[in-house]
Every structure is written in C-alpha cells, then in structure tokens.
C-alpha cells in the first residue's frame, strides 16, 4: 500500500492560527483546571461549597460584624444593632500595649521601641542579599546588637538607664527577645556542633553527637523544665539566673542542636574538591572553614536555616509553660479579664495571636522560598 503523499513538499507555510477559544483564555483555563471531567466537576462543586460555607462567616467575624471600639465588654455583647457580634477588636485595642510591652514601665517603653528598631535594622541588613557590607552586618547582628539590647532593655543605672527587672518584661517584647536570643546563639553554636560532629577528634565528635541526638530526641518542654527546675540546683545560690535567662538558655541549647543538623546538611553538600582545593592552597583548618567551606555551606542551606528560625519562632510560645509572659501568655492572661469577658473574647484573642504569628512565620517562609528560587537559578547558570 502506498500513500498518496508518500513524497511531500510543503509549498506554502501552514498558517499560524490562534488557539481555539476552548483551550485558551479564561474559558480554556476554567475548563482545563476546574471542569475537565465529571469527577473534576464534582470536586469543584464540593470545594466551592466549602468556600461559600467558610469564607463569608469568617469575613463577617473578622470585619463586617466585628466590634472596633468600645470601653468594656458591653460593646462586644449582642445588641440590637449587632445581634451576633464578630471579633471584639476593642478588647485587643484596650490591651494592646500590654500585648506589646508587658509590664515594662510606661516611661521606659521608648527603650523597647528603640530595641525593635535596631533589631529590624539588623534583620534587614542581613536578609537583603544585595546589601552592602553584609560582613559588618553580621558583626552588628551577632555581637553589637546583643550587647546594645542588653544595655537598653535591662538597663545600666550609671548611664541613666534605670534597671528594669525581667519579671516586668512581657508580650511581643519577650517573644522577640526569646526568638532573637535563640537565633543569635543557635547559629554559632550550631556551626561549632556541626563541625564537631565531623571532627576527627573522638572526644569532640562524641560530645557533639551525644548533645545533638539527645536534644533532638526529647521535647523542648522537658528541656525548658530542665533549665528552669534543674539549673538552679546545679549552680550556687548567688549565681542562680533569673527565670527568663534560664528559659533563654534552654531555648538556645535546643535550637543549636537543630541548627547543627541543618549546617551539617549544608557541609555535606559541599563537594570534596572544595576541601582539597583549599588544602592544596595550604589553608589551615579554621581558615579553610571560615573562608571557603562555611560561606558556601551556609548559603546553600540558608532556606533551611530560615525554616529552623520559623520553627524556633513558633516554639518560643512554649516558654509560656514555664511561667514567662510571652505574647501568647499575655493573651491568655488578658482573655480572662472580667471587664472583657464575653463569649467571643477568647476567640478574638487567639485570632489576633494567630494573625501575629502567621504574619511573622509566613513572611519568613516567603523569604526562604525566594532565596531558594534564587539559589536554584544561580545553580543553573
């Protein structure tokens, strides 16, 4: 059998046609993504129903029926104009400075604000990959900032900053302090532990492995218990650190074990050739690590580091359990206020807290994804 067009030569080029409407544009997109088969149509309908069921009540709760201002619980109780009041934002507004500063003395709160600003500045410097002199940024963030913050928040009477005991600190301030200390301490400690785990010295390796695996094997809450209950036993009375410091130690140790594993992952991804090249240049161990290996390893693993920070940030809520007034604990305390006791006070408090944590964590995760995409692009080049 022989085809009529067995031999063929195209005389005129085939016309470039626009795609049929059914396969492009809004119609095509909707058809392909929502209604491509009977099963798909059913799913679409179920999901749409779910959205209709969930979203309008949420919007009503958060915005349309929400109570934005008021002096006490009366404002958030069902009334003639608002038979089913939504979120009681008036309650949040009334307590907002407590949520931010705890019982930090009113006249000294500018110190907290300044601390927030200095911190934001440091984060921006380090997070912006194209920023100038990020090495100085690192020194600022890991050395200058901690000292400055300590002076600022805790106070040095000689230079005119009165002492503010940590028992007065609270709210977002404490949450941020715990998270920052965790981050600032865990990265260097984690790097040391990761290097220790890969060290050739048996004692160092044994110590690192034991520490890392032990801490990763137990819940943070037990580490915090240990720090808050056992630590005072282990040191002489006069050295016993205050409650917040004990929790900070627990968080820092806990975070560094996780950070160590993340850094180790980064170290493993550096090809052997890099070590060999550095050694061929006669770089001693610490130089090799500091100049060649770690810069690459930390860069590769930056998204994972940020993810660890996100976990750490969420975990700061656990200090609540050992009696520290972090942001979540202030919410817990405030929602019990009889002035504001309504059926929706608790929900409002939790919703507000959730929004706060979500914004922080989601922001960090978007950042980490951006970095990841950028690294992937750099890799392909």
């Amino acid at each position: 059998m022989v085809a009529a067009d067995r031999i063929y030569l195209r005389e005129a080029p085939a016309k470039l046609l626009p795609a049929p409407v059914a396969s492009t544009g809004v119609v095509g997109w909707v058809r392909a993504n929502l209604f491509s088969s009977p099963g798909n149509i059913a799913l679409t309908i179920i999901c749409a129903a779910l959205i209709v069921w969930i979203v309008p009540p949420l919007l009503r709760f958060f915005f349309f029926d929400a109570v934005w201002s008021g002096a006490d619980r009366e404002a958030c109780l069902p009334s003639a104009q608002n038979p089913e009041p939504g979120a009681c934002w008036a309650f949040i507004r009334a307590w907002s400075s407590y949520f931010t500063y705890g019982f930090y003395p009113l006249g000294e709160r500018w110190r907290v604000d300044l601390f927030f600003f200095l911190l934001a500045f440091g984060i921006a410097w380090l997070a912006w990959l194209g920023a100038p002199r990020r090495d100085i940024g690192a020194i600022y963030f890991f050395i200058v900032l901690p000292i400055l913050s300590y002076v600022l928040l805790s106070g040095v009477p000689i230079i005119g900053l009165p002492d503010v005991p940590t028992s007065l600190w609270g709210g977002i301030l404490v949450t941020i302090v715990v998270a920052t200390v965790g981050i600032v301490a865990s990265l260097p400690l984690g790097i040391l532990l990761a290097l220790g785990r890969r060290s050739e010295m048996p004692a160092v390796r044994l110590f690192s492995v034991t520490f890392i695996e032990f801490v990763r094997g137990v819940p943070l809450i037990t580490v915090l218990f240990m720090a808050s209950v056992m630590l005072p036993l282990f040191v002489p009375d006069r050295l016993a650190p205050d409650k917040l410091v004990r929790a900070l130690i627990g968080v820092a140790l806990f975070a560094s074990a996780y950070m160590a594993e993340v850094v180790r992952g980064g170290l493993l991804s550096i090809p052997r050739g890099q070590y060999e090249a550095a050694q061929a240049l006669a770089l001693p161990y610490w130089r090799m690590m500091a100049l060649v290996i770690l810069p690459q390893a930390l860069r590769v693993t930056l998204p994972n580091i940020v993810n660890t920070f996100i976990g750490l940030f969420k975990d700061t809520t656990l200090v609540f359990i050992v009696g520290i007034f972090d942001f979540l604990r202030t919410i817990e305390a405030a929602r019990g206020d009889p002035h504001w006791a309504t059926p929706i006070t608790s929900v409002t408090g939790y919703a507000f807290a959730a929004v706060f944590y979500f914004v922080c964590c989601y922001g960090m995760s978007r950042y980490s994804r951006n970095v990841e995409a950028r690294l992937a692009r750099a890799h392909r080049r």
């Binding site: 993504n33 929502l34 491509s36 798909n40 799913l43 679409t44 999901c47 749409a48 779910l50 959205i51 890969r198 050739e200 010295m201 048996p202 004692a203 160092v204 110590f207 032990f214 094997g217 137990v218 819940p219 943070l220 809450i221 037990t222 218990f225 240990m226 209950v229 056992m230 005072p232 036993l233 282990f234 040191v235 002489p236 009375d237 493993l268 052997r272 070590y275 050694q279 161990y285 996100i310 969420k314 975990d315 809520t317 656990l318 609540f320 359990i321 979540l328 817990e332 929602r335 059926p343 608790s346 929900v347 939790y350 807290a353 959730a354 944590y357 979500f358 964590c361 989601y362 995760s365």
Partner: protein, 390 residues
Amino acid sequence: MSKMLQLPLRSRQQWASIALQAALVVVIGGLAYGAFINAADNLAKAHIASGFRFWDNTAGFDISQTLIGYSPSTSTFGRAFWVGLLNTLLVASLGIVLATALGFTIGIARLSRNWLVARLAGGYVELIRNVPLLLQILFWYNAVLKSLPDLHSSISISGGAFLNNRGLFLPRPEFADKFDYVAAALVFGIVATLAVRIWARRRQERTGQPPRTLSFAFGLIVVLPLLVFFAAGAPLSFSFPEVGRFNIRGGTEILPEFAALLVALTIYTAAFIAEVVRAGILAVSQGQTEAAQALGLRSGSTLRLVVVPQAMRVIVPPLTSQYLNLIKNSSLAVAIGYPDLVQVFAGSVLNITGQAVEVIAITMAVYLFLSLVTSLLMNLYGRTVGIVER
C-alpha cells in the same frame, strides 16, 4: 559516613588535637562535678531526698484519665508514671494514624489538577504550618471545647451521645459472651483475606490473572462477621450516658483535654506530612509516569506499581521525623492539663516529691526511648518499601 573528611595529620596538629580534647573532657567533667556538688548541697538545704525510692511511695493525687487501674489513695508514683505514659502513647498513636491519613489526603490534593482543590489544600498547609501548635491547642481547648454548653444544656447527638464542656459522652458497648463468636469470625475473616491475597498472587504468577480480592475482602471482613453477629442474636448492648444533676452517669467519656490535644496534633502534623508527601510524589519524575503509560498501564496501576514505590523511598525518612515530632509535641498536653507523661510525672510528681533531677531524667529517657523505637520501626518499614539505591 563515607563522606567523613580525612585530613592529613601532622604531629604538631596531633598534639593540639589531644590538648583540645583533654580540655573539653576537663571542662565538661568539671562542670558536671560542680553541678553535682551544688545539687547535693542545694537539695540537702531544701531537705529533698535523692534516689528512686519515691517510686514506691503513695501518690495521693488524682488523674482525670486512666487507662489502667489507679486510685489516688493507694497507687504509687510508679503507677502514676505508667498511667501518664499510657496516656501519652494513646494520644500519640491515634495522632499518628489520623495525621497520616489526613496528611496523605491533603498532600495528594495539593497536586490535584483541579485548581480549586490544590489551592484549598495549599491554603490549609500554609495557615496551619505558620501558627504555633500551642496556640492551636489552646484555641481548640479554650475557645471551642470549653465554650460548649454546660452539663444541663448538653447537646445531644443522635445515637445517645452527649456533648458539653466536660467532654463527649458516648454509649459504651457491652459485649455479651456470644460476642466472642463475632470476634472469632472477624479474626477468621482477616486471616482468610490474607490467605486469599496470597493465593491470588500465586495464581497471577501461574496464570497471569490479575489479583482482584477487594470483594472477597469485603465479604470476609464485613459481611461474614455481620452474619455471625445476627445469627448469634446480636450479642451487644450499650450503656447509654444519662445526664444527672451534677454529672453524667454511664457511657464512655472523652475528655475535652484529650480531644483538643488530639485534634490539634492531627491537624498540625497533617500539614507537615502533606508537604512531605507532595515532595515525595514530585520527586518521581514525569518521565516515570510517561514510561508506564506508554507501556499501557492504567493510571491506577501506574500509581501503585511505579509512582508510589518510588515516592515512598523519599517519603519515609522525613515522615519518620514528623512522627517523632508528633510524639514530642504531645507533651504540650501540660498546657491544657491532659494527663500525659509530662503533666503527670514531670508536673504533679515533680511538684510533690521535689526530686527534679530524677524525674526529669526519667522523663527525658522515656522520650529518647520512644524516639529510638519509632525510628527503628520506621527503618524496618523503610526496608520493606525498598529504600534501595543499588
């Protein structure tokens, strides 16, 4: 291990390394010694005993959920430990099962070709992952379960169950003697189903007939026990909960603390498992699916024979660490007073005895042990799904 770096050592470096290690040992030893001395000193001053003798002393406090017999006036601290541990195991194992089911569903939904489904699943994951677990537990407990109506206006659910702010009260099944036959039939059904499966596999090898055992399984595991159940005269009755003046009598009670913890752990961990599953499936290249389809495999077979086995190899290790996280996170029970190991032991027992060192050491040892066992089990499972890179 194979990637361990071998640096050439020269003798000066060797000395340096020995010195460093010695210093490490001395520092740690010194710290430990100092801690020991101080602890002994501080404990003596506070008149707190040491050692594990407290284990056999009478506990004297009540526990709201006990899976094994426990009475505050006669049971020991040791007994309280086991009660707490069992409560931890209960919530953790149920949580693992439920979170796995939910997580796999959502992970697969995230890859759905239906845009809306994928978006909804994605929204779930983003929302849940970025809100602290403790906040979620508090929300479920205080804002949802504790704000249910009180005892007298309990919500009654069809089938004789009640829901109020003290918990969920369900009818408790009471089995008559003849129920043993039903149980036996069920066991028989399961064994027979396994046998049929093996037989069907063999037959497939011999004749090529594909194994279709679903209807057999249904018949043996569902229909047969049901038949026996009715043949034996329905040997099952329920003790229904009744709302009294001050409490609810009869039935089984599910504590709001338990429910809140379980719901929060499940929802939270499922979001992470969903990400693990999604990554695992995405790790199987498009080419694998295409090759299977080009061979004429149906989409079900393609998934079962080609995609899932490869995805599982990627999924199992991170899934294991999610399970470990769930077990460790169950200790947040302490925040709402669910009597798990930490709440009972590191909480009540520690407060009463004051023996912080022993109690916390035991608690940590238990979690280390649980982590170890879970990793081991998952490694074994990993072996069966063939984590081979031969």
